[in-house]
């Protein structure tokens, strides 16, 4: 299966060359109502199974593991972005998507956390991903996604820290400009037919977060 990136090689080069910065509001956690809702709705009586399309952060893992025993799959896209000089973007996507599709949990997943990941992939990938999730989702299963609402994202949120049940902290890359069309909330929901939009919110860094019940 071949996937293509929505962004160009040049954009990724600029991403690679840019450095991780502390942007203005980074030290200040942002309130995330979709995340809060997710935590309230996750089952308490059994081990949670969570898929994370983001970097493995200590705060995120600690948060869930302190709530109760859990099993977490991490698929960090940013790790591959760091390796761009050694691979073309198609290979980048291939490697990441191959990993996701070959190593996806076969057990019921309670939640999929996709912070600013889905923007990068085309409809073919999203279609395949939705089928994959549909195949393993617990009942209920939740998808927490964040989508960019601006063509230019000075606060590219590759890293998300969980502060508490209500607050997240996004860390970003600077000077990221995306010329290509970005996925919209409506477009995303179309890949998950029958899903319910439980809660959404616009964050001050320009991201729209949304929680779906699949």
């Amino acid at each position: 299966m071949v996937f293509s990136l929505r962004s160009s090689r040049e954009q990724y080069k600029s991403l690679k060359e840019s450095k991780l910065v502390q942007y203005e509001n980074q030290q200040e956690p942002t309130r995330s109502l979709p995340f809060q809702t997710l935590i309230e709705r996750l089952p308490k009586e059994r081990k949670l199974k969570i898929v994370v399309f983001a970097a493995a952060r200590e705060s995120l893992f600690r948060f869930f593991s302190e709530e109760h025993p859990c099993q977490i799959w991490f698929y960090p896209l940013d790790r591959f972005l760091n390796e761009i000089p050694r691979c073309a973007e198609d290979e980048l996507v291939h490697e990441w998507s191959d990993r996701v599709f070959s190593d996806f949990p076969t057990e019921s997943a309670d939640a999929v956390l996709a912070w600013d990941t889905l923007n990068y992939f085309d409809s073919e990938f999203l279609q395949a991903l939705s089928l994959k999730i549909h195949g393993v989702q617990a009942k209920p299963c939740y998808l927490l996604a964040s989508l960019s609402t601006r063509p230019k994202l000075p606060e590219h949120p590759l890293i998300v820290d969980v502060i508490d049940r209500e607050h997240l902290r996004y860390s970003g890359w600077e000077n990221i400009e995306r010329k290509n069309e970005l996925i919209s909330l409506r477009e995303l929901s179309e890949y998950f037919p029958g899903s319910k939009n439980l809660r959404s919110g616009l964050l001050r860094n320009g991201l729209q977060e949304v929680l779906f019940e699949l």
């Binding site: 493995a56 200590e58 705060s59 893992f61 099993q71 991490f74 960090p76």
Partner: protein, 157 residues
């Protein structure tokens, strides 16, 4: 030197051209595998182990601590009481007590442990299962992958 209760295969020194990254530091109790050593095979025993070099195979030190130092590399599975990783791992870590990935760690595989700690900055790709590994329900299959992880691999092809 480290205790060879059950060590198979060979331990070879890497080429002399390899820069000595750091002098092996002998831990206060236990054994050290130096930066210029490569071990292929199974390693079992009853003392702590500190690894600066390269290991291709499985390490089983059920009651002890295994520390993979920065620059160290493991391809295989570690079963131990405590595991600390500062280097690179391709494989699984199963700890009765705690797994710690330091910020310099680079890991691709599965972690099973009652307590798992990730330091920010570590590169981790794979699965973490908060489980009491002391119950011994992780079966290791040849190739250094746990049976559960192996099943995940093969199911999806």
């Amino acid at each position: 030197m480290w205790n060879r209760e059950t060590v198979r295969e060979e331990a070879t020194t890497e080429s002399a051209s390899t820069e000595l990254r750091r002098q092996p530091v002998r831990s206060s109790a236990g054994s050290t595998i130096g930066a210029n050593l490569t071990i292929k095979g199974e390693l079992t025993g009853t003392e702590d182990l500190e690894v600066f070099g390269k290991i291709e195979g499985n390490i089983t030190l059920q009651s002890n601590t295994v520390t993979l130092r920065e620059g160290g590399f493991l391809q295989g599975t570690i079963h131990a009481k405590d595991i600390e990783v500062q280097g690179k791992v391709q494989g699984d870590l199963v700890a009765k007590d705690r797994v710690l990935l330091k910020s310099s760690a680079n890991m691709d595989g599965k972690i099973v442990g009652a307590r798992v700690v990730l330091e920010d900055g570590c590169q981790f790709k794979g699965q973490i299962d908060m489980e009491d590994a002391s119950r011994g329900n992780m079966n290791v299959i040849p190739g250094g992958r746990s049976s559960e992880a192996g099943a995940n691999k093969t199911k999806e092809g």
